[in-house]
Symmetry: C2
Subunit: 372 residues, 2 copies
């Protein structure tokens, strides 16, 4: 198996760590932010643009790709990498989160989840085996176990039952993985906001021995403090020699807090989604470009940024593009937001290297503002 | 005045001509197709991408830019080139065509046109002087006289009155141009589908001595044969030492027919508009990428094309992008369509150089099909 995590350095003042993940499609430096390419495209971007920004790995969504265009078609195309023209690492989720989010449209049993498509109402069934089979067809470098992410809030009894099923499903996923040598299957720790259940889940999942572990069930609507507390408690339960992935986190402040608690990987649609709505991340905090105040502002989105957008376009121009609904507006804002997070993680890695991560965080928050 | 047209070669077998237009922002090789950037952006494209495709000049639309973001704002930004980050030549239309297309929302008088914005219903007035003032603010290299484009069909009396007013307006435009040394004002020949009126318009407009002439009022719904007949008749009336611009033409077959009749420049939203609807131009004719027949077609859009899209993506992938409404679909199709036309014009210039234009046209039509 080519997959391997290399721990390079631990931070002096926090649990942050510098590392490398080796995959069949190349090496990833951690901590890393992973842009989301839900439907075989990171919205509004080409693969070359992503590389220019420094993206080292992207996500694909199993649920969406299963429905359209279908995993068999992607397999026929030579896999997801070839289909979408991306030759660096890809991580796919299990589809579990999306399927569970369907609410009334889905029914959970021990065997798996029956659901109706959000597109056309057609009936489908995804089991742990099916999820892995789909991900095997996609050919992603890192694949995720099919888990249940309990909603927030959920009571202790529900979360306990749910995490225990997640463990049984994790075992089935491991058994089902047809390409363990080329597709690294990560286990997912659940347990909601309960310390004892996080501990139980971590123990059970780690016992199954996966090449990497995700912390699931966080950033699902709980207060930031509670997420941090859960990370404080859960991450130290994970083995040092394996990468740790926090699912669904992508705001600068959450990324800082996650990294400082020992997280190596994170993903979120946030930077790309808010970009298409005209909200951009800057060193001074978020900026809503449609605001009239920017109509004659000929400065760049972020004076401290040196991305393509900031080097070539003014706030006034980008505001105009959004005002008249031009695709280039979404493109320029997406480029900026992804660059902002990718560069932030680069700076974070540099700061860990130089034992000044906490200091860098303070400097960043002073201008950007902070969640708590 | 830096503006100059250089006639390099006349075709042996047709009225086609090879030339160069010198502008303050660089040289344009003719015959040329000009992509349209209505609202300070060629839809879905960056300026760098346009340059990579070989675009030498683009269009801007005065009516749209006047309404949003406003020409004063663009002037404040340093002009349209700087505002949109495009440093090659720009041609702007006069706004006349858009304003006349407003139907019930506009009222024409000798002084100009009163109209209501299609966006918010606000009242505006554009006169020949105002159109030129707006274009002076935009700072485009080639600006167009404010004319009336008579609809098709229109009776002889109406067209005669209309072209005579267009002549009076052309004179006022010339007098109004504040930057004759840096912004070349083109006159527009009208006259509908009437030979005598085309002749009258050509005579009157040429008498005013403009650095270039456009043939207006064609490609407005008349049969292809009639357009060709009007070109056959009108273009020879124009002086050889000035560039000739056919407005609103952008399908491969129309471009061939126009060039063969002595046209040097043409523009149209067609390639970019149909691209966003998923229709692409290929050497075998148009292709509607959403068709189910392409769902598992892993070949490129056009096997004879070497654009970025065709080098990297399959029909199946592009169909998927359109099926799930992803921006990248519009981007890839736009890149392909613009490349197709820009490359076609490059080939046409090469064919004129080598006295084999008519032969090239036959070869092209054999595969692509033909309008008539």
């Amino acid at each position: 198996m080519v997959f391997r995590y290399e721990l390079i350095k631990e931070d002096r003042d926090s649990k942050a760590r510098l590392g490398k993940i080796y995959t069949p499609h190349g090496v990833i430096e951690t901590p890393i932010f992973m842009p989301v390419g839900t439907r075989a495209t990171v919205k509004a971007m080409t693969p070359e643009e992503l590389k220019d920004l420094g993206a080292q790995i992207i996500l694909g969504n199993t649920y969406h790709l299963y429905l359209k265009p279908g995993h068999e078609l992607i397999e026929e195309a030579g896999g997801l990498h070839k289909f979408m023209n991306w030759d660096r690492p890809i991580l796919t989720d299990s589809g579990g989160f999306q399927v569970f989010s369907l609410g009334d449209l889905r029914k959970i049993t021990e065997e798996g989840v029956e659901f109706r498509s959000h597109i056309d109402g057609s009936k489908h069934f995804i089991s742990p085996e099916k999820s892995i089979q789909i991900q095997n067809s996609l050919g992603s470098d890192i694949i995720m176990a099919f888990d249940e992410c309990a909603p927030y809030p959920s009571d202790w009894d529900y979360v306990k039952k749910s995490l225990e099923r997640t463990t049984r499903w994790a075992k089935r996923c491991k058994d089902a993985n047809a390409n363990p040598d080329t597709q690294a299957l990560f286990g997912i720790i659940q347990g909601g906001m309960y310390r004892d259940l996080r501990e139980q889940s971590a123990k059970e999942i780690i016992d199954l021995d996966f090449p990497g572990y995700a912390v699931g069930g966080l950033s699902v609507g709980e207060p930031a403090d509670l997420m941090c507390e859960m990370l404080d408690y859960t991450v130290p339960l994970l083995p040092k020699e394996k990468p740790r992935y926090l699912m669904g986190v992508g705001s600068p402040d959450y990324l800082f807090e996650a990294v400082i608690r020992g997280i190596d990987m994170a993903d979120c649609v946030l930077p790309t989604r808010i970009a298409r709505n005209g909200t951009v991340l800057t060193s001074q905090g978020k900026l809503v470009i449609r605001n009239a105040t920017y109509s004659r502002d000929f400065t760049s989105l972020d004076p401290e940024c040196d991305c393509y957008t900031c080097k070539n376009y003014s706030r006034a121009y980008i505001r105009h593009l959004f005002n008249v609904n031009e695709i280039l507006g979404s493109r320029l804002a997406t480029i900026h937001n992804l660059y902002f997070l990718i560069k932030l993680m680069e700076n974070i890695r540099e700061a860990i290297k130089e034992d000044r991560l906490l200091q860098y965080r303070e400097e960043f928050y002073k201008k950007y503002g902070y969640i708590k």
